[in-house]
Subunit: 141 residues, 2 copies
Amino acid sequence: MNSEFIIAVHSLVLLAHRPDGMASSEEIAANVCTHPARIRKVLGCLRKAGFVSTREGSGGGYRICSEPSEVTLADVYRAMAAGSLMPSWCSGNPEMDCMVGSNMQDVMNSVFCGAERQLENYFAGITIGQMLTRIKERQMA
Amino acid sequence: MNSEFIIAVHSLVLLAHRPDGMASSEEIAANVCTHPARIRKVLGCLRKAGFVSTREGSGGGYRICSEPSEVTLADVYRAMAAGSLMPSWCSGNPEMDCMVGSNMQDVMNSVFCGAERQLENYFAGITIGQMLTRIKERQMA
DNA sequence: GATTACTGTAATAATATCAATTACAGTTGA
DNA sequence: TCAACTGTAATTGATATTATTACAGTAATC
């Protein structure tokens, strides 16, 4: 799993929490605990996916332009980390003679595709708004 | 996700496919496409988890000592890769002032715990025996 | 129009993780 | 006693990840 997914979710939750829905890369970076350049990269993806709008220049920054209650973690996952469940390392080799060794990659692939669907299904049940609610609840406790 | 999980599953499927259920680390390594020492490490875990037995010395090696139809990928996952879904990199910081930044780690953690349960649930529906069947089917096609 | 405060993007450096390899002690069968 | 194994740790090499730097482009404001 990609840590950019975490950064994306965190950033969206932070923006959703802001009254005006806005923040600069520097503000977000301080909150997430990473470098502003990394935030700009991740939020560039979120912009392409339509979750935030950006304004360059003075007074600019990022603004959430989707309903926090309608954006799910599955949406963010698809935009940021699709396919990241399966390790890049592969066992076996389609060229080899043995039935097991030559077919394992394909079978493993289908297993992980299924796992990814399962995961997306779970993430589809959690919205950015709910994340913010959970945080507020935790803050109370 | 840990690639040792893949190696463990591949090794178990290979052993299940052998008439006598046995193979040496060298044979397994050749089939998996990795180094024998790595196989010994992974199968050492499977031994501790009770899925294989080992015999040292000449003529020794690994033998599957559980029913392929009863060992699920969830069992293997728990033995080899439990907790590996969540990235090690963390956003936010419990010490900080902001409600969002200070509670994000905990909330993200609970999200990934749920995801992991979901994943295990999916893996629980796939046995080593079924993996072998899938491979045989693919070989036919 | 100059200045200031931003984003976008790429390149580089630092660090961490992962896999391969080597080495060798211990075990067992022949 | 030799040969063929496992168990394990240390080292090296490769790869992936994150931080940092740099700078061009854009927009608001004075």
